[in-house]
């Protein structure tokens, strides 16, 4: 959905961190992205190929660790793994507003020279 902005921001962070560490090249950028962010990994990759030109990450790969979501069901008093973007309890079908995992959106590390 806002994949372009996310990749742009990740590239900015990666470049400034790489420069600060005296690196001249970024080989890999690792992201952690939760299921409930609704971010589409393919769209990230596409944005990456468009935006990385002319940066230290010109030839870098984007590696995405996809974090499956965990929601809490108040009626059943238990955690469950929702399907897709709808945090619906598989047992009682009640949508959960309590997302315990799956909202992650972070740049984890870089592989540089």
């Amino acid at each position: 959905m806002h994949e372009v902005g996310i990749v742009q921001s990740a590239l900015d962070i990666a470049e400034s961190q790489a420069r600060a560490a005296g690196a001249t090249k970024i080989h890999e950028i690792r992201l952690r992205i939760g299921q409930m962010t609704g971010i589409v990994p393919e769209a990230l990759e596409h944005a990456m190929t468009v935006l990385r030109g002319g940066t230290l990450a010109e030839n870098a790969e984007l590696t995405v660790e996809y974090v499956p979501a965990v929601c809490w069901c108040v009626s059943c008093e238990k955690e469950f793994a929702p399907k897709g973007l709808f945090g619906e309890c598989p047992d009682c079908r009640v949508p959960s507003a309590d997302i315990r995992r799956g909202m992650e959106l972070e740049i984890v590390s870089l592989e540089v020279d």
Binding site: V4, S9, I13, S16, A20, L85, A97, E106, S109
Partner: protein, 294 residues
Amino acid sequence: MCLECGCGLPGPTRIDGKPADEVSSPLVEGVEAPNHSHTHSHDGYTHSHDHLHDHEHDHPHDHGHDHSHTHRQIDVHQAIFTANDRLAERNRGFFRGMEVFVVNVVSSPGSGKTMLLTKTIEALGEDMHVGVIVGDLETDNDARRLRTTGAPVVQISTGTLCHLDAEMVARAVGGMDLKALDILVIENVGNLVCPSGFDLGEDLRVALLSVTEGEDKPLKYPPLFRFADAVVVSKMDLAVACEFDRDAALDNIRRVNPRADVFEVSAKTGEGMDAWRDYLNRMRTRRGSLTSRP
């Protein structure tokens, strides 16, 4: 410019007819967007040295070609905020300082945003000072309709762009007397996809679903409804004629966004307008009491 959906080439954005970058605003002039990566880069630097040795061993070069040096890993562990997110946070802080409650209204084209806002401003009455920013690709028809209420209206013509962003709003408020306003409503460009990805710095996001659009819109376009605080089911006077399945619609909204406050309204007949207006007043008061806390 909207690489998000590829919906068009960069069009010149205009505010009340003027090129947007010629419009002065305290929120834009002479200030760079705060750069989070800069403030954190020193942590990252130290961090990378701490871990240097481990990682050199973790990632040996075993893929054929010779390098005289090894790859090394820099640990970053930093949340990603887009440039728009940062500008939106600035807007939000500015709006709080001005004590103006900001509402962002999103929907597909023609769901009834302009009519709802016109009637809402009337319903709020003269004691509540409302200003409007309205985004459209072209034409100032909506701005003119909204001006009939007597409220100050700033028009953003986005050219070919399918959504408003935080920077356009920052510029648009440059010419407004925010101190004199209690509520600023922003009518976003009619679009089901892109506006949901752009925080404008609002306090309240409202998504409209008109009964003529079909009950399954929330399932087909989840983000629009998912990131809304309130959903207004609009044009209720047409519900019977459209064989609108109310239960299915409410169910679908709840599936996508169990936390949303839902209102069923007809701007035309006034049905449901009181509850909607009271809600806005309530949310504004609540926001006010949160900000005035030390």
